[in-house]
Symmetry: D2
Subunit: 397 residues, 4 copies
């Protein structure tokens, strides 16, 4: 059983605590910190948390506390990690880790120097579908992954600070691109080096300084592409979808807007249908249990199991740092208009990963290009001559 200090009493702190105290869970938040005492007090009351404080240090150094969870705006992550590392306590930090790679690198160094357990709270890598899909992909169900698209779009974040670049550090690319990048990286292989990125980012719809829409490709050493699509101007709810192409198969994951749950309501109704739904009338698409479907439940299970067993969490500050480096390269690319290298100050994956390869020999003289059953039931094969390179077709006998 873990005793937790929650830093931050906003939307994400609420979701985290709701998740941590959910089901028959044995972990408990014992102290809540926020710089707003009113919010802090009512948060403590709502969640049955015994203590609250407006001093971050007090929260972190509370003698009962084992694990510190950081659910603060991006500009406060580094400070919170400093305080926690100093207290030599385990620390779990929300996404993105830093506002940029330099910040993330400092945080990584702090926790590793302090030797404390650290977790990067990338919940969307832990949705139940993603966990099962990753297991299938790693077991070879789809062959070698050539492309992984991850998409997160909705009509914009809940709180004002997200929209203010000085606090958040960036727009939708930083806020949601971090999810998509880490999801694709998991599908393609976390030990394969991301080598370069191409990114488009623009402020198309919202009256803000930062980008409200971004698209990007992350190229990995083996040739695979991780594609992300993020937007704060999507209409219709929250769209969370991933698609994976492999040489032997495909994965399609829809985490939110089409999960086999549909309600039509002619009248409005009171009550919360789904995070980021735009209406309570017409066709609505809720999810069953939000904190489960969004990965919070399985994420904290992994984190606290790791803490208990003194192993490494599935997502660590190192992963958060890698994501920040990729995003830094994306921002550079969106300005330069060309592919930009990912400059990793630390790399713990494979030294060299060979190219994806799907060459299948047909016979000693030919490579198989394609085999296909035709409408008339015959099987047509397309072959490449190994010597001449000539491509021909024939009907299989």
């Amino acid at each position: 059983m873990a005793k937790i200090a929650m830093l931050g009493a906003g939307f994400i702190g609420d979701f985290y605590t709701f998740s941590l105290h959910g089901q028959r869970n044995r972990d408990r938040v014992v102290i809540i910190y926020s710089n707003d005492s009113e919010q802090c007090k009512s948060f403590a009351k709502k969640h049955g948390i015994p203590r609250w404080t407006t001093s971050m240090k007090e929260a972190v150094n509370d003698p009962e506390v084992d694990v510190v969870v950081i659910g603060l705006p991006n500009n406060l992550h580094l400070e919170a990690v400093k305080v926690t590392a100093a207290a030599k306590k385990a620390v779990l930090c929300t996404k993105p880790l830093g506002r940029n790679a330099a910040e993330a690198k400092k945080m990584l160094d702090l926790v590793e120097k302090a030797g404390v357990m650290n977790g990067y709270l990338e919940d969307l890598v832990y949705t139940p579908k993603t966990l099962k899909a990753l297991k299938a992909v790693r077991a070879g169900a789809v062959g070698q992954v050539t492309w992984a698209r991850s998409r997160e779009t909705h009509p914009g974040p809940h709180s004002d600070w997200f929209w203010t670049k000085g606090i958040s550090g960036g727009g939708v690319l930083l806020d949601m691109g971090c999810h998509c990048i880490e999801i694709s990286r998991n599908y393609i292989g976390k030990d394969i080096r991301p080598v370069e990125v191409m990114c488009w980012a623009d402020t198309l719809v919202k009256p803000i300084e930062a980008e409200d829409n971004a698209l990007g490709w992350v190229k990995y050493e083996n040739g695979a592409i991780g594609q992300f699509e993020v937007s704060w101007s999507f209409r219709g709810g929250m769209d969370l979808r991933d698609e994976v192409m492999g040489t032997e198969g495909t994965v399609w994951v829809n985490n939110f807007l089409r999960t086999g749950f549909e309600i039509f309501s002619a009248g409005g109704r009171k009550g919360y249908v789904a995070e980021k739904a735009e209406s309570e009338k017409g066709w609505l698409f809720p999810v069953g249990d939000e904190v489960v479907e969004l990965g919070y439940t399985d994420m904290f299970t992994d984190m606290f199991n790791a803490w208990e067993k003194k192993t490494e969490a599935g997502e660590t500050f190192y992963d958060g740092y890698i994501v920040n480096e990729i995003m830094d390269a994306c921002y550079r690319s969106s300005k330069s208009g060309k592919w930009e290298p990912v400059k990793l100050r630390v790399w713990r994956g494979r030294d060299k990963t060979p190219r994806i390869s799907g060459i299948k020999n047909f016979d000693k003289d030919h490579i198989l290009v394609k085999e296909e059953t035709m409408p008339d039931g015959k099987v047509k094969i397309i072959l490449k001559n190994k010597k001449t390179g000539k491509i021909t077709q024939r009907i299989k006998k």
Copy 2:
């Protein structure tokens, strides 16, 4: 924290224990009972359960045990309840409660006389989607429910005893009809009296004595119909779907075979994709986390919370008994070929529920039959004259 005796080391005991020990759960199975000592031992080892026994009494009376969970074949439920009631321990029993209403009634009497907390383990009422849908329906999102269809079909159960009527007490109607009947009853209203039933049951495909396919309608006092469809000869996986029609809306819940998770695999792969999937090649439709999606997690949360707080569980032996009475009437109807009354020896719901009514006055002389926007954008209304009963149409101005 609850200490549990698990009775039964078969498929359902495994699922229950897996669920009870899942995530960061604080409850623990401390003793496992099965009459097969080998199975018992290996079950204990697999799940990290400290003690095992081939004596049901020993398991139930284990001094550490607070709650007894019955995961045995149907013909052993009554005996297990007797032992548990005698020991004055809380008891949770798998579905169906009895092989028939007489058995269920005895079990109900036993636990109520003993004054012990009792829960009916109807997991499908607790799927996250069903819980949220029920909340929406009870809040009025779809008006008055007129019809609720619940469907459970798959290619047949896992263990031999299900197929042997002497042990199971019946075929697919008893095995899976109990789920569907209780789901519909929840949507329509658990306090509305089920008055009569019409049921078709046949042995169409499987070489067994009991029915392998059944369809039924349960008519409630207010005119609403609960429709069930169950089959042991469905091909393609496990189909778990519910549909609800209300005067003001609709609910569609798909718990299993189409939940926004799709994998295509050209080659086979090793590993368990989904309970009751028929292949590991081609298009596959797993669910994220089976014990969550099938309702086990939320069911045990409700049951153990109720036990801790000394309140009543959402599904009790009384509910199990009502379901058994409805199924008894279904078996009678499938033989008589006519609607058969549901004869309730105990009824704790509303005395009298008025008919569903959707009458909407249009003006002092007319009732509104329908209002519809036509292709040209005009709104057509269809009205009934209150005095003459004549139905006419006009364009709304």
Copy 3:
């Protein structure tokens, strides 16, 4: 090329003509009849039809006319068939054929005596998906069909006459049950005798004399069940879905509300999104081309090809008559509360169809009950001993 007299200038006449004149079609409506001269004139203008008349006889006997299409309210079908048969012209009649079997039988006799080509305009048997599904089923893709569910529900018909029993002859069972019954009959086999029916019908929501909701089962001689579900009180659009279970497979057809086409619109917009959509805001689910998706295009192709080639249409007055007999039995059952026999005055199908049978021998002593791959990859088989009837399980080697 066919020259057509269209009888009826209402909603269905409009759809028919739109379909007949659609694409690069070579058939043409040359005269339109309606008893309302204003409606008739504007219909002619809208569709570019050269002549119009308020005399049914004039329309039918127009010398240019080859084929008469009846798109009139139910109470005028018989009269129109009389006039057409007298003129010895080919006749295509909308659904249901008669208001009851007696009427339908008269119509059947009239066209057969006159020796004219006749077609029953059951469009939903001709949706492109249904045509392809029927082809697959007939080719054995799903084995023997054991159950076929057909569902048609929407918020009620467009015109006042539907709601008036004297004109329509019945409620939603007659109006839409005819579709569902014929769809199921096609899946199960048109040459297999429907033997008895069970039907529930009630007036739950609408202030009308006829039923606004009905459910039914049609039992065929081989044991298969055709299930229909119809409603005039469904909310959310028009729900047109069919489901088929066979001993070796499954078919799921969704013709309308979920066809891979989704629009979210925050503001309203002008224009017709979909027949029977309830709104122009929020999530909308149009179909591509309504007259194609609803089967009109393929239905008329079949009918006019048959006329040209002097063969029989896929759906004839005989089929319409069978459907009316089944519906008559349904009305009797909904009153008697028991299964009612289908009394066919004419039967042209198979004399005797044996029971569905899925018995599979395993070895000389055992029948195979089920084979299943378990989570650990082992294959479990469940067997029945041919002599003792005992059911046992074992792991396949």
Copy 4:
């Protein structure tokens, strides 16, 4: 009624002719040309075409022929257009128009100089769903389009010549990118100038010279992005999906693999389920009527109606030329690794299109950033101060 010369007796000629002769169509292919006399003869027989020839000139100059349809490999388009323009006959050419923009420009000049009706056979712009979606978008249903994704992926083309760069002119980018680019262009606005492109193309899986996977973004003058994704190494069938984001809404179109039609078959079956399906077992996803769903029917309707009425087709050689220019820029970008300008030799659209703009004033001092209903039912608004630029939030009263 049009009399057609079909050039090409391969897969696409077959599909075209099947479509042209489908339903109750009034147009007819009267002569078929192919350089392979055997194929030509059997094609004529199969489709009931009166004449065949191995001379392209003979086919085009056949005195009965009104319209020439080019269904030849890419390297023969220009020659065929030359012959047809010389004969002053209407000409419809399959996609892509040229192997590059220079070729396409020559073809455009030829038909315009000859003054003959010309059509670019971009079928996927004509799928029934796309037609209706485009109508909705143009009517303002989704506001201003900011992004349109079009995806076409399958396991590779049917014929050997596609795989040979010398004949085809390119790989999957040329073969299928042309579809996606024109679809996005239709959603974003055909009169808005495409200004620059970013493209990634690689040969990841297939043993060929040309690219087998490509991704790209086309930036339009108003800031909108058209995104394409094409692959010859996708597994699971043919994936044809489009997604559109607008400032006020969303469109999701699935043309092929998930259209509300699902079959599970335990055994194999004979017969053609769907173009490019990979199996006849397990879960299959056919479409209803392929030539309708793929847009051929509506495409030819538009083309022949235009020919009859002497108007312009919806897609002309000019459009084909624009697409070729965009693809040329894509090939340049895939090599240079940076955004490349689209260099249009001809532009007939708007001179200057202003940036997308979604600014909404809240009151005289503030711009509305976002409005959202919170879980507790309160409406939170996020505002930007017009003068200070500061972003704040408040609860709406």
